[in-house]
């Protein structure tokens, strides 16, 4: 589904953020991308979406990253930004939800029907006509995910999805991801510091350290390896730390 081969990237006027990264994510995989601040997690997501120009080869759904394929690639990947306020720019939730689908050629009526289905799936029908600036943090996060799901992406990329969520909304998010995967086997990639969330929702973990892949393997194994986590400036998930 997503393949990185020898990908490197340097922000203008800064040090290299990604160093010769190679990995691939298969269809239906649930992947947690973890690492300390500045490890390059968000940069990887941006590279997969073609928001930054990297060296190396990136392929999404069999399409090589290029200007011509950009639109198709972005249709395949739904990106949920860390800050929902930066993601939702239309006045109301429903208008934000149909924005992408209509841009990709769906009729407005069909887009609205699809949006209704997604809202029902997520149990947030009550948010349909809500103004974007009149929602709580948890509601905004769910609405942001809904705007992306309406476009029927093949994979979800989520940047710090549990940040700024209270325990109840965090639990809702975990249940939502599980429901989504059970229903459609959708591929998803989560970047986060919340290792308990990763343990609950991902079967594979990639650890990034200073723009390099430090480990890649089953979540159950990696997230129990205290020495490995500490070597990469991370800590054991709370459930394993016994706190």
């Amino acid at each position: 589904m997503i393949r990185f081969e020898n990908v490197s990237y340097t922000y203008p006027g800064a040090d290299e953020v990604l160093h010769d990264i190679s990995f691939s994510i298969e269809r239906g995989e649930k992947v947690g991308l973890i690492g300390a601040n500045g490890a390059g997690k968000t940069t990887i997501l941006k590279a997969a979406l073609g928001l930054i120009q990297t060296t190396g080869t990136i392929t999404v759904g069999g399409l090589p990253m290029s200007r011509e394929n950009l639109s198709e690639i972005r249709k395949k990947l739904g990106y949920v930004l860390q800050n929902s306020d930066n993601q939702m720019f239309m006045p109301t939730v429903i208008e934000d939800m149909i924005f992408g689908s209509v841009n990709y050629g769906m009729s407005r009526d069909d887009a609205e029907k699809k949006a209704d289905e997604v809202l029902k799936d997520l149990n947030i029908e009550y948010l349909k006509k809500r103004q974007n600036h009149r929602m709580s943090g948890g509601e905004k996060r769910l609405a942001a995910i809904a705007t992306v799901l309406t476009m029927e992406p093949e994979a979800l990329l989520m940047d710090e999805p549990s940040s700024a969520l209270d325990p109840k909304n965090r639990r809702n998010l975990i249940n939502l991801l599980k429901r989504l995967w059970d229903k459609s086997r959708i591929t998803y990639v989560i970047t986060t510091h919340d290792l308990d969330l990763v343990l609950d929702t991902c079967e594979r973990v990639i650890i990034l350290n200073n723009g390099r892949i430090a480990a890649d393997g089953p979540a159950e194994v990696i997230l129990r390896d205290q020495a490995l986590l500490e070597a990469n400036d991370l800590e054991l998930p709370f459930c394993f730390a016994g706190r």
Binding site: R74, Y79, N86, Q87, F89, N103, R108, M151
Partner: protein
Amino acid sequence: MNKAEKAEREILAIDGMSKGDSAVHRMSPLSKLLLTIVYIVITVSFNKYDITGIFIMILFPVVGYVASGVPVSTAFWKLRIVLPLVCAVGIINPFLDREILFYLGNIGVSGGVVSFITLLMKGVFSLLASFLLVSTTPVEEICRALRQVHFPKILTSLFLLTFRYVHVLLEEVSIMTDAYHLRSPGQKGIHISAWGSFLGQLILRSSDRAGQLYDSMLLRGFQGEFYYAKGRKSAAYSWPVAIICIALAVTFRFLNIAAIFGGVII
């Protein structure tokens, strides 16, 4: 609530108003846009001494505001910052042009006073017409109408993004102002010594956020077109009404109705 937050809420209120439901709201965005443009062009084209001719042009905003249910007081309140500028434009006319054009009783009215009042009316009528358009038509639909008349894609995108950027900018101003005042008790406003860093941070932060918003638009297929804006069905009377209004405006431009009526009555 600080001033930036209030300003942001005012903009959101206009956005909310544009989603209303009235005879004017239901007109097609393109017909309203063209009508507004033609109205403004005709209004500003009046001779600077044609005070009786231009006066009749008040009919359009009056009818528009009544039919749309948008309170005129709201329009004047929202335009309170721009209106003094309109007044300022012609304020020196009475001093430059002192030739007496006519007498009101014993008082001579100079060309400068007449041209000042005419200029004021041109500005106020044009602003009222523009406000009527934005308070009855969502910004995306205005952009789409502009694209329909082949207005350059880059300019419509710029217009939309500027509109969105104002929100972002005001939000950041609001957050930063609150943060500043929490650590500077008793201070009114922002001290001059902090202006440089405040402005610098504001630009960096808001452009960063605006960049993310734009990325979010790109990721959902935005390429400068406004397909998603073709919302509700426009009323069948849109174009007939627009054409009649344009025809009337053109007639008023070339026939001084007020003078004709005045002549008949006198």
